[in-house]
Symmetry: C2
Subunit: 464 residues, 2 copies
Amino acid sequence: MDTRAPTAPELLADLAAAVGAEQLSTGDDDRLRHGTDESWHDPAPPDAVVYPGSTEDVVAVVRACAAHRTPLIPFGAGSSLEGHVAALHGGVCIDMTRMNRILRVSVEDMDATVEAGVTRLQLEAKLRPEGVFYPVDPGADATIGGMIATGASGTTTVRYGGTRENVLALRAVTADGRVITTGTRARKSSAGYDLTHLLIGSEGTLGVVTEATLRLRPTPEAMSAAVCAFPTLDAAVDCVIAVSQYGIAVARIELLDEASMDAVERRFELGYAIAPTLFLEFHGSDAEVREQAAAVGELAEEHGSAGFTWTTDESERRRLWDARHRAYEAGLALRAGARIFTADACVPISRLAETIKLTRRDIDEAGILAPILGHVGDGNFHVMFVLEPGDEEGLEVVKRLNDRLVERAIAAEGTCTGEHGVGYGKSGYLVAERGREAVDAMRAVKAALDPEGLLNPGKVLPDP
Amino acid sequence: MDTRAPTAPELLADLAAAVGAEQLSTGDDDRLRHGTDESWHDPAPPDAVVYPGSTEDVVAVVRACAAHRTPLIPFGAGSSLEGHVAALHGGVCIDMTRMNRILRVSVEDMDATVEAGVTRLQLEAKLRPEGVFYPVDPGADATIGGMIATGASGTTTVRYGGTRENVLALRAVTADGRVITTGTRARKSSAGYDLTHLLIGSEGTLGVVTEATLRLRPTPEAMSAAVCAFPTLDAAVDCVIAVSQYGIAVARIELLDEASMDAVERRFELGYAIAPTLFLEFHGSDAEVREQAAAVGELAEEHGSAGFTWTTDESERRRLWDARHRAYEAGLALRAGARIFTADACVPISRLAETIKLTRRDIDEAGILAPILGHVGDGNFHVMFVLEPGDEEGLEVVKRLNDRLVERAIAAEGTCTGEHGVGYGKSGYLVAERGREAVDAMRAVKAALDPEGLLNPGKVLPDP
């Protein structure tokens, strides 16, 4: 994309004709909102926003944009964190939120088909009475389409897998305006190239996902929660490794470091120790969750945990997990008007404690406030760098710290992003992580499926 | 591929120079063996076989073949079933079995890196003393590279996932002789396009896999087995649906239909009833496997099972599962000198009983011997059509029955292959299953990564 022509009036007319004038917006507020994510990245508004109501609408929009050689940026809830929705080269934002129908749910087959604009909590509300759930929980109330685009995962991935493990098939519109179906409702298939996984995590650069068939799970008969503090970060991580080696199927296992617990206690005064702490959740039958909790409790004690608090009571469970759920809010509250720069990396768990400790040393040397927490069962961790508004110098320091963190993760045989994706914020790390040859293969795939480079240009792949 | 030139003497000289003359073979026996799989498909021998010892050797072989525009067919154990290894357009078979080193195992991180020629049982023997295992079990002692190429799965997939869920990263040689690394050792990543999954199931048509990093699991503390017969196929399948809805994490749940049990009893006289039967395995702690077995036992009884035999004793467990493990042998024994045509399809489980019953009706009407069995927890089933040697008329009947079976599976929102792959035996079904548009997208990917069409030509994608 070397052209940055303003979107042509003829295109706007074509879009209005395609989806209806009331589903097209060029207002400043709407454009700004659609060029903005929840990160520190500068907004980059599109020239127009369209709101398709069907796959056929999406086809019409893609064809109109292709005819005018105009970029197209898919948009879900705008909750991404690496500039995924920024209209770097202008163009048209395609807001998928009107496509929010849950098309079918089968409890027998444990699957559902939804439109891309359905949100996580909307789906949860629909599924709960049926005794099933969709197990991918990235925290934000993202759209399912957005979660597919970024390859989202989260706190429950350690037990149920992330987006990659829970999507059976996609319906998507290709750059030339054709509709493809990438799979079936069969639980597994060896038929042809895996276009489903090719689209997952492709961030709208290979096609516009319009529908998804998802794998569901039965709501567990029982859930319990536990919290335990450890004398050191090493002890906490070693305990997690032991839990994994014993094959204890924890549903969630989250680490908050000392700085995170300090932020939480300052904000909410829950009475937890200021120490590296694990938050756990167990799913299963009554007997299973009791057995799992007892086994983890023993391992925690062996690893020096002073106390292991656990409960099967629902409100108590929520109270125990409150600190984890509100850690971001606690980080924000550390400084009045603060904003947060969230880092995301993932390493083999044997390298996790060392990676976090070196990162902590860098942070402390730089004198930055930055709680660290993570989906420790997967080796995935986040740093919440707390910045004062307008602190450009601090932002530069944080960017350098983030660079070091990513370099360190890659050196530890890990990845620059465990779950937030590449957007344009992390495309610069891709060659360092995967090598020139693999990135060239990705470029070949992109060129094959989007030869004009109109789908979310400037994202995922670094400029050549 | 419209050219079928015999492999040039110059190429053979280049190959001998690249990997050593002793690692190159043009003998008739060797060529025939490498053009033959375990299916009913006619053998198609390559012109030569090379035995690389390293990724660098593979690069040299790929480059030599590219320079001479000669097809290249990767070969593992030769245990595939849809003509994957047939040299349809001649060329060079690249036998990966010398690349059989297990490069590293980490029990802390629950992962291992192996060369593509390592076999499943070789890996199992190496991992067992470490208290871990690789959970994909397709039955055959396939190579890991072959299992990746076909996207293999099997009896344990219902609990642990198949190849797609258990490979973290691949090393592969592209058609132009470059080495790509498709992932890291991190448990998850959202960095760039998912080349790992693009290669899994691509049957050597997009690159030659040389190394894989695999996810491991801890050996369960306890295992138990159970067998239960049902009055009808519907009752057996309904019981499996109930097991799934209760979230009971069975490690294996296999269905043998009446004809399968009849074949087994004729052969081995194990004393089982001639009725639709489920074979189950449970993994977990002692308490977990007892609880799981008790829960499934209750469900089986509710669904009309006359008796539920279960055990935690190791030799008794093996005895119980004997019928399942030897079902193929029992099928072969139904006719002296028989050969078996194995069908493979996968449907949503709510459609499984109906699909099997209609298939059974067709089979009985045609008067063919054909036990049916399946990985019922995934909705995946196989028909073992028993044919007399040289019965060409019977083979034509079976092909028509197989067509009908596949049509029916696709109509039931399922797939023409749950786990055996496409090869050239099933490429004709791909458009019916996925649609012209999706197959065109696959073609675009193939053209991007193998523009000369030299990697295993004639496989996966149907002739245009």
